[in-house]
């Protein structure tokens, strides 16, 4: 069940071109949503203005090589290890979501484009990676949603209370959860149940990618840029912090480490 390509089995009632076109449309939706988000909130304009101000205030202007070094450090720490988080639980949850989403996304694209039909035998590793990625998203997202959300832990909201900031994580977790349910039902052979669950899966996946202007999806793009800018300001001395603060985080207060 978990070692066969679920998208290839869709060809019983859908053309392989459906998923191939759908993925292109979703990529376009994310691109359009991110551009709209940047223009509507003027975040790009703010970011560039801030960058100019930072360069003007720099006590030690950085050369190209130094900027490249800063970019590598940002990639190694903030992007690949989610090192920005001061809370280890949040960092682990984010790592599960980040790498789970990457596995899920890459394996989906490979299975849909390289092995679109049941005739093209899919190597077992891709469906396994798809399921492992989905499971990582469910574990990381569920952990975050019920136990780590700051409005739940610090503001004492109910774990079941939804706020607009939850749109991204809820649509992501539900879409992969229904993806797995659809895969299981499809393996049992019921065509109507398969069609219904596949419809729910596609609906939730569409919500995830189309809701970019209203959700936190775009943080995948602007957070690394913001982390890089923060490091540049730190190294170039344009952040106005006391000298002792360069490159340091403050330690969490002992009484404030509930998460």
């Amino acid at each position: 069940m978990f070692t066969s390509n679920p998208f290839a089995e869709l060809t019983v009632f859908l053309s392989p071109a459906f998923m191939q076109i759908y993925i292109v449309l979703m990529i376009l939706a994310v691109a359009a949503g991110t551009i709209y988000d940047m223009l509507h909130k003027k975040s790009f304009q703010f970011f560039m203005q801030r960058r100019q101000n930072s360069e003007a205030r720099a006590r030690r202007p950085l050369g190209t090589g130094q900027k490249f070094g800063v970019a590598l450090k940002t990639l190694g720490k903030e992007v690949l290890t989610s090192g920005e988080f001061c809370n280890t639980k949040r960092q682990l949850s984010h790592l599960l979501l980040f790498y789970g989403f990457l596995l899920y996304l890459i394996s989906t694209i490979v299975m849909v484009y390289a092995y679109p039909t049941a005739q093209a035998t899919t190597p077992g590793v891709w469906p396994v990676l798809w399921n492992v990625g989905a499971l990582m998203i469910i574990i990381g997202g569920g952990w975050f949603f019920f136990f780590l959300r700051v409005n739940v832990v610090q503001e004492q909201d109910s774990p079941f209370r939804l706020i607009p900031a939850d749109l991204f994580v809820v649509s992501l977790v539900l879409s992969v959860l229904f993806g797995i349910i659809w895969e299981i039902v499809q393996a049992q052979g019921g065509l109507l149940a398969t069609q219904i669950l596949f419809g729910i899966y596609i609906g939730l996946t569409t919500l995830l990618f189309v809701s970019v202007p209203w959700s936190k999806f775009a943080h995948m793009f602007y957070k690394p840029a913001a982390a890089y800018q923060k490091r540049v300001e730190d190294v170039s001395g344009s952040d106005s912090l006391p000298t002792a603060a360069r490159g340091k985080k403050q330690v969490a207060s002992p009484g404030n480490t509930r998460t």
């Binding site: 610090q154 912090l241 603060a245 403050q250 009484g255």
Partner: protein, 150 residues
Amino acid sequence: MPTFVDMTKCDGCGQCVDICPSDIMHIDKTTRRAYNIEPNFCWECFSCVKSCPQHAIDVRGYADFAPLGHKVRVHRDEEGGKVHWLIGYRDGREKEFTFPIRTTPWGSIPAAQEHQAPGPNDIKSPQLAHEPTALKIDSLPTLEEAQNRG
């Protein structure tokens, strides 16, 4: 001089929400980042500024009385037991000051919830919660003892 949060630096950890004595640092429902819900109720205690792990919070002077162009930045060094201040003047000068903030290691003072909860009869005691152990003494003189001595 209310606080404000740099949304690009905040990671939504909630430290400021926990520590704010005015309970005016809250979490934005759309971005899940901290923000000051009532800037006019902020009494500039700098608690959130010092506790923010990302240095994402700053204090902005009101333009009608704070010197334009000034800045006050702070970094709390818990391991070193110091607090570092950077004062920026209107004419561009900057001065840094460092002060010791404690003589015991960070985290060595038990939080209130780590002490034993008071029993029902403790309300009749003249001692305050966690006394005398929190004062690091064996006992405190009581009213009865003082009267007997007198």
